[in-house]
Each structure stands twice: as structure tokens, then as C-alpha cells.
Subunit: 430 residues, 2 copies
């Protein structure tokens, strides 16, 4: 089960917050080969690789319109209602992130503003495998639509029979995404980065995936194609005092642990008794979980740490910079300003992480692996560029001109100075 | 001079917007060696490398307090006034970018918001060389201060005598930055990324530099340290119709070209006469520029393109995605919504790029090399993380619980479902 640590010295914290290192360098040569193949052979390469990796002979790369439309009848009313509710909440929350241009006259006649402009073409990757992550499609598709991205491409690997899970098709349809390419893995990333006859090259690629997808996205950094976030295994840190409910805490830890053996789970408490009770609950709840093998392995790499008080727990959490932070403490309202590093924060005993994973409205694509020290999760901002504009009147240039000339000259950039001087001469002649 | 192209076919545009490829892979092994040296030997490595590359024997790595304070007396009143004016304008513009948390109740009892939290520690790199880029220090330091970053480290290589240009010291002092490390190149990036006894490891590194600095920053992508933007040579695209002033346009093109031989300069016009007049002006103005050798080389790689109308010019510009876009056209106000890809836009005949480079208030750290298709320039946002929060009441969980349970079950994640179910049971018992 969890590794138990009592009152670690501050000097040891740095070691405790380290995530297990992942080495994927071995994969790079193979992925570079996939990139070359897709660049050289385009759609043919996608067909060959899909046959090879997914065992599917693709005729059309894209799901047909009737295939997408059929999803509606394939899902239960209950699931459709749930997806619609989540869609609505996510839309409501992300719509508030829209920024209106504010004109600022920094000096008389010098007016500046910035404007959010959608990224033209974005690519969304949704992994296949056992769990059809339609929730991730909502988390990426809703802000892409709200931002106004002109073209949204969805790539997802086909299932054994060549079809795509109905929940993915239904969600895509709800989002107005009609381009679902049945392509997965590094070849999907290559197709969206470089373009093929069928799949247009996009400006930014979003979405989770296995290590091939993760490394492929990372390898794009030199190509000019942006990615959402550097990726790592998902993680949660729970801060629990005596007021916490041990069964709830254990359930939250397990909901993270079931993602996979490499998930990171950390429990901090100022109560040794709470730590023990959570451990007992973990044992009991784990026994009946369908994914208990994944969860048990994840727990083996996880930490239960006893600390002296809430301040220490927050300090440790800030150093760890968790993707998800759950505050199961009585005075959470008083300590909100002390949280400096986290992806998304869940407050009190009735705000489980799974609420944010699915339906409360916040995004679940978040910085892992301590990236929360410098990165934000996906939001509406991730789908726009903020372009600055300025307009200077002749009188404005007379106000600001001298400042520019003096600074440019001091930096030894005479042509920069001259671009102002030549205009000022003209203005003075008028 | 510029390469002249008349009415290129749309099929050829993709080729025309390509930047000259830069290959820096050869530098990576040497930089990796510098990284190792700094990680192993810390401050000693910084002293050795500064001796080697800058010819300076450092005693203290940091500029002394009296050295910083002395700058005030070393600058002209005129330059200090200019820096203060620019500081004030940049502050005014960036202060407007602050986002206040807005609580959204997505369902009754389910409240979500996001909050901007400063990045704890940031590192600013300012290159040395002939031009002391105190303007870049303003562009990075002002938003870092406004964001509230707790620790700001400035690295800049020392001049021949071991001192730092007074304009850099003065600007740092104005920004309240008292940690000026006399370290440059890849060793400065390594120090800020990995930390030494004297220089703390930072969470994000900002600032321009030569190819060693650029590649060093790029190599950090796997280490968890964030960087401001991927870098490339600076560039401007000017759209000029008959209403433009050829002398102003030439001055703007030259202000970009003087940055260096690899600067990118593009002029679009729907008037062959305007193109010719700008060429004549370029010749005349170039002849008297101190940095004419750089500028002449940059112009050789540059393009003057004749297109049919404003719509075509905007379409070409959007495909090119310039760092700086100058609209010297009479109806610029009517076409603002057609601009989809650009870093910063300058409107009309009296808004030279150098205004934004120095003093109008907008930031001059902008996406080059077509990164403007997906990236924004540096802003207040670059110095914060936007952390989401949520609080759900027991009644709120009753409202949203079913949605989460149904979605989690459909994704096969029973522990996610259970984190809700276990709480709902408790609520129903109350």
C-alpha cells in the first residue's frame, strides 16, 4: 500500500516531491521513422500503419456522416442526458473566460489593445483502448468551439471492427465536429502536424495518449506546431485534517489510482489516526474495484505523509505542485490564498475530483509532473492567440516620439530611431 | 535588395511564406556539455565559463548593490526620462490584462472559478553584445512585477571590464530587481534551470539571446522548466497601398532589417509604383545607417510582393503570420477583423513598429517564425498560472452526482463513480 512517512525534515521534501522519472528516449527513433513515413506517403502511410497497429483495413479515413449520426440511437438516454449536462456546465464555465478588447490610451494619441483571435485549425487526439474518453473530447471540443476555431480535426484510433465508440461519435456530433479520422498513435500526431491529402496540417494539437503519442507531441517542438501541455501521469494530492471523511478520501485516492500503475497519489494529514483510517478504507474499497490491479500498483508508488499542521501541508503541496489538489480540511476557505501551485483545486468534503473530471465545468486537461509551477490547464485561452494592436495619431507620435528616439539611440539602433524621426519631421511640416 | 515578385499564384504562397531554415543541431552536444558542467560544478562552472567566453574573472556572481545604485548617475537625464515614460506606458497597458476571479455557479450548489496566481520564481535573460537591451528588460520585468512573482533573477553577460551596462542596471533598479547575475550564454540558462549555490532554480525562463541561448532554452522542454516562446529571427510584414508614405515604409523595413542579417522583411503592395518608390527610399536611407551592413544582408533575403488588392494582401499576411504587421492602408479600420495571424499590429502611417518596440505600452516579446499562428506574445498571462477551483455543497452533489456517475461508468472508471456514490449515500442518510 502507500509508503508512510512521519514528519519528514524539510531538507527531505525536495526528494519526496520528485516524480518517478520516465525515459522515453528509446521511442524517439521509431517515432521519427513514423513521421518520415507520413510525410513521404501521406494517407497511404496512415492506412498501412492503421492496418499494422489497429488491425483495421481502412477504406475511408474519416467516419461517414451516417456512422456519426447513428450514435444517437446507440447510446442510452441516461448517458446522453449526462453528456448534455456536462456539455452545458463546461460551456458555461469556459464562456466566462472570454476576454473583451479593452482600449488603453497610454499617452494622448497612443491607443493600444489586445484581442483574442481563434487559432485557425486545431487537432484533437482522443486515445482508444478500453475507456472511450468522450469526457476529454468535451473538455477540448467545447473551448475550441467557443473560441471559434475554423477547423477542428478529431483523430482517434478505430476499434477492432473499424468503428469508433458511439459515445465519441455522439459527443463529436454534439460539438459539430464532422471530421473524425480513424487514426491513432504517433501517425495521427504526424498527420495533424504535417498534413496529408485527407488530413489538413493544424496549428496546435491537443489531447492525451500513450507514450508514443506523448513523445510524438513533444518532438513537434521544433516544427512550429504547438501542443496543449507537456504530459505526464495523472496525479492527486489530498490534504486531510481530522474533519475529513476517511471513506471519501480513500475513494478520491482510488479514483486517481485506477488510471494506471504510474498514477501518482499523495495523502497529507496532520492526524496519524486519519492516515490509518484512510489506509483501512483503501483496503476495503480496493477489494471490490474492477480496475484494482492498476490501482494497487499505483498505491505502491504513493505516499501518505504525516505533517504538523495545515501550513506545513500547504507548503508541501505547493512544492509538489499537484495536478489535482483536494482540500478536505475544515478551514479551507481561510487558506485559499496560500495555494500557489496546483492545476485544479477541490474544496471541502463534497467536491470529489471526479466532479471536475466530468461535469462541474472546469477543464480536466491539467499540468502534471510539477508543471503546475509554471503552466495552467487547458482553457479558452489555449484556443486563441491574443494579438496586440496600436494606433498612434500624428499628435500621439509627437507625444511619444522623443522617448522612442532616445531609447533606440541608447540601444544603438538608429534605424529604429529614424522610423520615428522621419515621421516627426513630416508632422512638424504640416 | 529585396526580391521582387509580381502577382504570385496562390499555389506558390506556401513556398513564399517559408522562413529560411535554421539548423542548430550541431550546437546541442556542446550545450548539453555546458548543462552537465553547471549541474556538477555549480558556481565554479559559471566562473570558469565566464572567464572563457566573456574574458572576465568574476569574484561575486551578482552585481553589488552600490554598482546597481551607481547607474542613476551614469545615465543622461534624457535617457532616464525616456525609460521612465516607457515603464509607465508598459505598466498601464499590462495592468489591464489582470483577470479577476469570476465565480460561476454552473448548477445550483456547484461553484467554479479560476484565479491568476503568480509563478513563484522567474528568470530573465538579457543578452550582452553591442546593444544593451534595457527595453527587453522593461518588457519582461514590468509584467513579472505586476503579476507578483516572488523572485526575479536577471542574468546578463558582463562587459569587458566585468561591469554591466548602466542602462540595464538602472532599469533593473527601477523594477526592484536586485539580483543581477553577471552570467551569459547557455551557462546562464543552465544556472536558472538547474540552480547553483548562488542562483536559484526558476520555474520559467524569459528573454532573447544568440543561438546558444535559443537552443539551450529549447533543450529545457524535457526538464520541467517552462520558457516564454520558441525563438526565431525578428520579422516585419508591411501592407502598403497608394496612401502609404514610401519613406515611412522604407524606414520601418530598415528598422527591422538592422537587427541582423537573418531578420525577415516583407513588403506587400497593390501598387507597383509604391513598391518602386519604397525601393528607392530603401537605397537612400540605407546609405546613411550605422548598421547598414546587417540591414543590407537582411534585405537580400527579403520580399517585395505585388498583389491585386487588400484582401489578397491580408490573406498572404495571415498565411505568413508575421511577428510585426504594419497596415499602411487607408481603410485599416475596416479590415481589423480579417487579421487572424500576427504578433502585434501597427495601424496607419504614424504607428511605426519602433513605438511598440520601446514605449507605446504593448509587449515586444512576440512570436516569430510563423508561431503567431498558435502563440501569443508575452503578456501578464505569461507570468501567472490560472488555477481553477470548485466547491460543491451536499445539495450540489445531489444535483450533479448522477451525471458524473453515468459518465464515469461509461468510461469504465468505477472508482471515479464511487467517489461520488459514497458521498451521495452519506448525504441521503443525513
Amino acid at each position: 500500500m502507500m509508503r508512510r512517512i512521519k514528519y519528514p525534515a524539510k531538507a527531505d521534501w525536495q526528494e519526496l516531491v520528485k516524480r518517478p522519472t520516465q525515459h522515453f528516449e528509446d521511442l524517439e527513433a521509431g517515432i521519427a521513422q513514423t513521421f518520415r513515413l507520413v510525410q513521404e506517403q501521406g494517407d497511404d502511410a496512415l492506412r498501412t500503419l492503421t492496418q499494422q497497429y489497429d488491425g483495421v483495413q481502412l477504406n475511408a479515413l474519416y467516419a461517414a456522416a451516417d456512422e456519426i449520426a447513428a450514435a444517437e440511437a446507440e447510446l442510452s438516454e441516461e448517458l446522453k442526458a449526462a453528456i448534455l449536462q456536462a456539455f452545458s456546465n463546461i460551456q458555461l464555465f469556459h464562456a466566462q473566460q472570454a476576454e473583451q478588447p479593452k482600449q488603453v490610451e497610454t499617452m494622448p494619441g497612443v491607443t493600444c489593445w489586445r484581442k483574442s483571435v481563434p487559432i485557425d485549425r486545431v487537432g484533437l487526439y482522443i486515445p482508444g483502448g478500453t475507456a472511450p474518453l468522450f469526457s476529454t473530447l468535451l473538455m477540448l471540443g467545447v473551448p475550441a468551439r467557443l473560441a471559434g476555431c475554423k477547423e477542428i480535426i478529431l483523430c482517434t484510433p478505430p476499434g477492432k471492427g473499424g468503428s469508433i465508440h458511439p459515445a465519441i461519435r455522439y459527443t463529436a456530433s454534439l460539438l459539430g465536429i464532422d471530421k473524425i479520422a480513424k487514426v491513432g498513435g504517433a501517425q495521427a500526431i504526424a498527420a495533424m502536424a504535417f498534413g496529408t491529402d485527407s488530413i489538413p496540417a493544424v496549428n496546435k494539437i491537443f489531447g492525451p495518449g500513450n507514450q508514443y503519442v506523448t513523445v510524438a507531441k513533444q518532438m513537434l517542438s521544433k516544427t512550429g506546431v504547438a501542443i496543449d501541455l507537456p504530459a505526464g501521469p495523472s496525479e492527486v494530492l489530498v490534504i486531510a485534517d481530522e474533519s475529513a471523511d476517511a471513506a471519501f478520501v480513500a475513494a478520491d485516492l482510488l479514483s486517481q489510482a485506477e488510471h494506471g500503475a504510474d498514477s501518482q497519489v499523495v495523502l497529507l494529514s496532520n492526524s496519524a489516526d486519519m492516515l490509518s483510517r484512510v489506509e483501512q478504507e483503501l483496503q476495503a474499497q480496493l477489494a471490490v474495484l474492477p480496475r484494482r490491479e492498476f490501482a494497487a500498483k499505483a498505491l505502491e508508488n504513493s505516499l501518505g505523509i504525516l505533517l504538523s499542521n495545515v501550513d506545513e501541508m500547504l507548503a508541501f503541496s505547493n512544492l509538489y505542485a499537484p495536478e489535482h489538489l483536494i482540500l478536505s480540511i475544515s478551514n479551507f476557505e481561510e487558506v485559499l490564498d496560500e495555494i500557489t501551485n496546483a492545476g485544479s483545486v477541490f474544496l471541502g468534503n463534497y467536491s470529489p475530483e471526479s466532479a471536475g473530471d466530468y461535469a462541474s465545468g472546469t477543464n480536466h486537461t491539467l499540468p502534471t509532473n510539477a508543471y503546475a509551477r509554471a503552466y495552467s490547464g487547458v482553457s479558452l485561452d489555449s484556443f486563441v492567440k491574443k494579438i496586440t494592436f496600436q494606433h498612434i495619431t500624428p499628435a500621439g507620435l509627437q507625444n511619444i516620439g522623443k522617448t522612442i528616439e532616445v531609447m533606440a539611440a541608447a540601444e544603438g539602433l538608429e534605424a529604429h530611431k529614424n522610423a520615428v524621426s522621419i515621421r516627426l519631421k513630416e508632422v512638424q511640416h504640416v
